[in-house]
Symmetry: C2
Subunit: 556 residues, 2 copies
Amino acid sequence: MLRRKIDRETGPLGAAEETSQLYRVLARANQIAGTTELDELLREMLDLIITVCGANTGTMYLFDKETNELVFSVVRSGEADSSLIGQRISADRGVVGETIRSKLAIVVEDLANDPRWYGPVGEGDEQLKNAITFPLLLRGEPIGAVQVFNYTHTPLQLMQFLGNRMTSEFEKASLLKKSEEHSQRLQVLIGLIAQISTTLDRDQILSLIIEKARGLLNAEASSLFLLDEENEQLVLHLTRDVNKTSLPPLRIPADIGIIGHVVKTGEVVRVKDVSKDPRHYKGIDEISGVTTESLLAVPLKIPNVVLGRERGTAEGHLIGGVESINKIDGYFDENDSQLLSTLAEQAATVLHIAQLYTDADELFLNTIKALVAAIDAKDPYTEGHSQRVSDFSVAVAEQLNLSPEVRHRIRIGALLHDIGKIGISDSILTKPDHLSTEEYDEVKKHPAIGAQIIKEVRLLQDELPALSQHHERMDGNGYPNGIKGDQISSIARIVAVADVFDAVTSDRPYRDAMDINTALQILREEAGDHLDSQYVDAFIDAFKKGKIMPQKQKPG
Amino acid sequence: MLRRKIDRETGPLGAAEETSQLYRVLARANQIAGTTELDELLREMLDLIITVCGANTGTMYLFDKETNELVFSVVRSGEADSSLIGQRISADRGVVGETIRSKLAIVVEDLANDPRWYGPVGEGDEQLKNAITFPLLLRGEPIGAVQVFNYTHTPLQLMQFLGNRMTSEFEKASLLKKSEEHSQRLQVLIGLIAQISTTLDRDQILSLIIEKARGLLNAEASSLFLLDEENEQLVLHLTRDVNKTSLPPLRIPADIGIIGHVVKTGEVVRVKDVSKDPRHYKGIDEISGVTTESLLAVPLKIPNVVLGRERGTAEGHLIGGVESINKIDGYFDENDSQLLSTLAEQAATVLHIAQLYTDADELFLNTIKALVAAIDAKDPYTEGHSQRVSDFSVAVAEQLNLSPEVRHRIRIGALLHDIGKIGISDSILTKPDHLSTEEYDEVKKHPAIGAQIIKEVRLLQDELPALSQHHERMDGNGYPNGIKGDQISSIARIVAVADVFDAVTSDRPYRDAMDINTALQILREEAGDHLDSQYVDAFIDAFKKGKIMPQKQKPG
């Protein structure tokens, strides 16, 4: 017990002793005020107040102006202190209610016979005989009250001073706590923004937003809705409850529910109890199994993004909304709204930029696929050739566990490997008979022509050897430069294997496509002198795993 | 004056009066403690202390443990209060020094004859006769001292109580102020991150980082260095002083200066006075005209970025550093380091993503330029045709003030407009004579073939009409579909003008290129029935402004 009781038996003190007693109380009050922990501060201040009037029990209430209720905030008695904590009583009646209304201290000398007292008076050691009650005033307004029982003397001035001190310290400690919590949450938010910013993968961004929104707001669950404008629907992309299970995408009409309102108006909506909100749509609760009580919903709005390089601005617009459901400890407040709005805004920006990047990337890949396919299609015998060589080469890269970056480079290089055919006369390319030596010499120019076409493209330098070297041979007897072994870039050696396989498994004007076993046998025979053995092996392994789909599958 | 002086003429007070006096002082202390403004709090507490001992002048010092100095923090006298504020005296000597060392109050009854007093004693109303000096102790350690002059009585207990209260309130107000400032700066930081995230324009990102770093840290200037690994140099991309003038890029060897150290090691460096730091490189100061005193330098490090779509991860690495120079009010502290580091990290991420986007965009544009050029080059007479039609079309779009997005779509559509030539036999395309009707019918298939090639590319749908409709005519007599007027997409109508102009200003097997005036005359004649008049007009206007560079410029 921190309570230091003044000995009640000594009777009235002399003036000097009284003064020295007073300074001990004041020093103690200063000491308590040094505590940074709010609960401890209130408890010790109440103990000091109990001590100065020789009481043995006391309570501190906080006043909830909104509901006109008093909340038991600190209870000091011989018995379990904490059982009453958080309980609420009406401020309409009772002694405490009166002290709140009158803003004056009230001394009740005989509780049992006071009409204002409606609590139990107890018996034995627990008996409550008398009470001093006084308000805690902050700038003249009551924020709570202190009530002590079984006092032996009534130093009201000192008690009120300590009460005021308690109020002042409570306010400061609350402000500091709130400010520090706010800083901490902002720090967390900044960390989340950093995390979300380091991925351009849309699904990963969506998961991160939902998961992090839940944690940041200390909510039971979070969900994210993306607007499908064409179908006038909201797509619930994911929701995670505390067990982190995810739900399959679900669609609701775009004008339904609180989220529908948010996405339509761009407003932030905060609801303490959705069962009282007519906009609430129960459909999602039924599927998610989470019964929504409190809710915070913010719009997902992408800002304008400056594209740079004279490309202007990608216009911002509302793309959906984010919901946090069931604040675990209390209700969502203004701070929560701001944090979630900020997170949502930044997340929307990241989503947008990821989309811009993905679009640019997809545009490149699909355009070259289309152009290469058109070039191949000039000769019906080579239709789809470049795409297949690309697929086969990527399968080899996967078989060898090459990194995604390298795999992608191989995908692009292989797609472009025959682009030099643009420069070869189509009368030669599509000639139904065997070629003359002169014609064949003409065809053999295509690697160099391809490299010539692409060589000015700064960002295709790694892919260039797939074009220029895919007809080189390991023994140096290939073309155009007769380089050999490691002099040939690995991307070209991989493409060469895929290229030979596709050639022998495709029909030609002068022969039918070979069966698979013969084709694989040819690869094995060509390994070493012509093709790189390691890539032939990887190709055959990939084939065995079903990763290679030749144009014509003929039984062997 | 907030000072409420106790009347010194009334003599000793009775005990009851003394108590009531005391409670008035205590109530006043509580009242003062309600002030949230730190300076006001200290001033009013000092006034209260001056009042209780009947003094007329007083000073509060804060103790700088690091330098063993006392800083004048509050001065209350009849004269200008503020002239001493911020001045420092040694704590080695004097009465205040002694009170700091001994942690005890010192009463000097005759200043003029006390060997510890080394200040002036003044004369007349300003004369300093006696002094009470006591330490301000926080958890037993001196954080400062209070000294009052010309006291009439010595209520030391009360004064020490008020001193302790002052210390405690000072600590709390400082903590709260610090915490709130921290929150505020984090809010600002979040706003800056949001701002930097909404541009993919590299130069704009760099400017924003530098400008915002300066503001966030309240520094005189900021600069950003990007590592040029190939040349082992650091490129000072921009620096802005308070007047917001920018400097041209400057290069320094990568291992020079504090910034060189930061970029090499990834460490954060904070220096109070660079003149004492041997790593400091004066070269930049000489050019920028800003003499560096205090400095904070943090690395620019991009994190790993997940690319998504099976593209793996773009690896993070150090790309440079950011410096803030000359903190305007004091020195850079740990908070500054963290804020600038966070800003730099997020900025590096944004720079990286902007680069990824720009690369993907550039890759697409340059690859199709290369492929289209190769297709055009099959016929020497059409070499460079698509690029010129693209340039001319963009010039028309600019002349019409179309948005950058639309301009870009026109650029791409025009580049691709003849891509269907891939599907036309090159014997026809390169035929030196006039074509037969059958051959011409074959050539007329190229718009449909082009559209067929590109139609599967989702992100080129807006550009598609440039391919499929550029040979339609306003009067409906064009091909392939004979649509007319507004049925023809505006992108195709613009490309048609550019296409006709380039055709007539280029040599053909059967005729030489026409001179410019003839060509413009043809455009004017074709306006209406064939070409859209508004685009012909815009073309001619653009030509007059020198925005159209025909292949052959012949005098008319």
